[in-house]
Symmetry: D2
Subunit: 319 residues, 4 copies
């Protein structure tokens, strides 16, 4: 059985010398950092914040004057959690940005291990191509470019398109498993008719020999707002709402029922008029984008008023 | 080490006496039945057969004169595999029948451990109610009444409705796990708006807290033909076909990607014009219903010509 | 809207004529058989029965004098449910038999789509070979020969070995998917050292790249009684028992946690001394084999006393 | 269509001003950081390193003189990747430390959302208690304390015990989901007999009503070295080795076949004498602990010689 010297000062000095020696051996003493490593509760550094769409739009249009889509590869402005300026993170694991694709723009083909989603804020008729198929995008559409899938965007319409990009960049960076590759041409070859994926995977049917692997991304890469919105409207009529969430549906992989993307959970939520939700909290942090209507959220003691196309990030906390 | 008497006759007599004694002990000798129990290959007793829709329809209308839907509980004519008359089986595990629901008919509410499907052959606007929700049916719709779910049918339209019923009755009978219960009223209470299930489960979204159990039946209980047909038409355009199956999609459970029903695999298949399939064989037996078009199938040496609404059963064999 | 003639006799005659005509068209009227096809509750024809081991053994030894293992292919006596003589079924889906392998016997290699289990009642040191590996068997061992796996048995010990065979023969017959093939030689080649499977799959570890397919059979093909019994003894000490089952553990597939065999659920159960179980019922029927101890079961109103190696079959009912 | 001013300097100035304004709006320009966020390949900053056991042991014994287990809560020295001093990480996602539990020590009960493993390097008979059950530990044993499970350690033997701690601390910190709670007493109540978990879950059997949830930790919390080592020895005899891995088995959850822990993949690996492995690379980084034997590894151009109880961390690279 060990005994520890009572001579406080000597002990402190001995410990201090010991800690120094540890460094040279690529070691450190757990007990000096234990409560940082294994805290009683998560840190509260993350902040809530919102970005008004009018501001976002004006700033984006300035960007449109300053850089071409092709030069930028992707002309996007990153939304940063105010707690972590310069870290390109809106939550611990997520990156969010607003991308502008002007008429005639080409966002050239590339692929990467990061998974990406788009949520369309404005515009009509620009396209995203994935795996040889183009999908034409409308406001509110939720579009996926799965990890390691070739993708490019173009806008052959005559109006700007603006969308929210969501990626798992911080998570992939943390794991240090980021790989990427530029395409050989700006635009990938189109090998499938438009609407092939929704017909093949999104109509209650699946190819007879189709098998999804675990953790795979949905083969449906556009969940159109018109269809999702109609489904929520139907549930609004059914008139049974969750106290905290109102009507909240998750976007799912048609062959697993799991979330549509392995690293980012996505939802479409409808709060009926005059519906007040109960407060709740969660270890998830969330990025909200308002599509229609007006209202406000309480996050802790902060009030956030919102209207169409506002972006709001919410740390683990109260609402 | 045993030795067996060479005296053939004595041995035969001894064996025969032994077999007799076994019976009294609720035993029998494996070696006398081994090759029946563990055959080299499946029996070939099952037969291919087809039922012309004109005949089916005429016979059904006669039935409509002879018995009310309510008296019959379900006014349906069973299609029997010609190999097994009186056994109410079209394949080893499946029951198939053609049901007639006349305007004003009520097929009263009941439930049972057997799973049932309907495939609509004629009519428009009759309904099936499942779990408090009514779905109105059109030609080609695939409708499910899951095991132990209350269901009733009614026809408030002004035309007869005729559909194919498919059930796992032979399988449930074999397992001896059939239970059933009549409803308290002919029609169950309607507690949900029409189109609730497709909005909740069939639009690429699922309720945020929904979890399917293993071997469960799809919560979507009507896969409308209009939507399924449009999906197959889209795949026809894509112009890549399976040599044996043309375009063959399976109806799936939206939260598992598994077959829509646990005991009956269901598909919708499109053979492009002038497409000749390669022969194939399978241990499954199959019931085909033709919705559109004309053609023929070779099953072994037999030729079956088909046109709209013909029903065809195919044993394990060649096509 | 149809109306049905009130003329009772005429109606009966018309219906009768109609039923006759149906037969020629390979049809029948559902309403004449509905309550057989969809009964209110399962049939009660299946019976409980027991086979005393002394009787089984004496009869088997007679069989040993009357036929060689090789001539019989498998020298086994089928236990038949008294409700269904000549049907080689002990429950609706299961076949059970008692097999004798005498010193020097060879039960030649074959394979079949039926899944088989052995539960050893007497003897020590006979072997079963599966997929190139031999396992040597002791009393109480639970041994599996998966569907379509080559298997042969031999007894190079100097005592007879007797085991219970359990197979899914009735189920496979019902599905009509029975295939079998004799081996090229009586004994398959031994390509792996004994105890390879338990080391590879049964020690809390799995090969780094191993993946089980759905509905697969456990790659562990001998669950030795010594080990299973010790586990149950340990749970007996823990002293928390299920009211209906005492201590009941299921044999599992090491890579799925599912039952060890896809078509037959197997368990090892220990009833502590003086433990009285609550009655229960189930839609399963069960075959019990007693390994140690004495007791009795009530099945409905019938009492069955049991001791070592008795075999008991229990229909869906009370205990 | 936008056009970009040719006036290079003006453009640069305009861009620079724009980037400044972005900061005030919690934004930044993607194209200025794109190649850091989405790199062509992972960073190469992580380093390989080894810690000799003699050094580790001497340093630990010094720690034993400087602090009590109770004061330290856990008396452990963290192994830090030389690339990231002060970050308590040996790989991007993992924490590793060497813990000393002296005779009489009490490492008091607590619980936390981090998952922990122990791999015993020296000693015999100290215990870890998890969920009311104590397991007594020997050299080479792999012991798990699942996330949010109460655990405490004690050493009632008369020799020091030293083990490697592996935790997912960096991952949990990154996600910011760390919670912890101290126990009410130093030692949790013992409510189960020793060896209950291996009997209940680790003997090829599972409780009849047991169901594992997804991402759950194995209920077996000690995988004893004696058993695992014997299994690998058996596979060594079988004499079929993987070119890159020799014999490599993963520790698994008995009810899912998945890795024993949801966030840390663990293996036991045997390289037969004189076996040279092929080089391989992986996006995983790995911590190796040598239990028996001597050899060396090439990691990139660096050679690491190893013998018993050396700890070696390997970045994504060549071996
Ligand atoms: Fe991208
Ligand atoms: Fe029914
Ligand atoms: Fe066999
Ligand atoms: Fe801990």
């Amino acid at each position: 059985m060990m005994t520890i010297s009572d001579a406080g000062n000597d002990l402190e000095a001995a410990r201090s010398a010991f800690y120094h020696r540890l460094k040279d051996r690529n070691m450190s003493a757990l007990w000096t950092v234990l409560h940082d490593l294994v805290p009683r509760a998560p840190r509260r550094d993350q902040m809530a914040a919102s970005w008004a769409y009018a501001d976002i739009r004006r700033t984006l249009m300035e960007a449109g004057e300053l850089i071409t889509a092709k030069e930028a590869e992707r002309r996007a402005l990153i939304l940063e959690n105010p707690a972590w300026p310069g870290e390109s993170r809106i939550t611990p694991t997520l990156y969010a940005a607003i991308q502008l694709v002007l008429p005639g723009d080409v966002a050239p083909a590339h692929r990467h291990t990061q998974s990406a989603l788009r949520f369309v804020l404005e515009g009509s008729g620009a396209f995203t191509a994935v795996n040889g198929e183009r999908t034409f995008m409308e406001r509110g559409d939720f579009v996926i470019t799965p990890n390691w899938a070739w993708h490019d965007h173009g806008n052959d319409s005559d109006v700007p398109m603006i969308w929210l990009d969501g990626l798992d960049i911080p998570l992939v960076s943390f794991m240090n498993v980021g790989f990427s590759e530029p395409g050989e041409a700006d635009r990938q070859a189109v090998t499938k008719p438009a609407q092939d994926a929704p017909a093949r995977f999104g109509s209650g049917l699946l190819p007879v020999d189709y098998e999804a692997s675990a953790y795979s991304t949905s083969p449906i890469f556009n969940y159109p707002y018109a269809r999702s919105r109609a489904a929520l409207e139907q549930l609004r009529v059914a008139d049974v709402y969750d106290a905290c969430h109102g009507i909240k549906q998750k976007y799912v992989h048609p062959a697993t029922g799991d979330f549509a993307m392995p690293t980012i959970a996505t939802f479409l939520q409808l709060l009926p008029r005059d519906f007040d939700t109960h407060p709740y909290r969660s270890t998830d942090s969330t990025v909200f984008v308002v599509v229609e209507g007006r209202g406000h959220s309480m996050i802790g003691d902060q009030r956030f008023d919102w209207g169409p196309m506002i972006c709001l990030c919410c740390p683990p906390g109260q609402r």
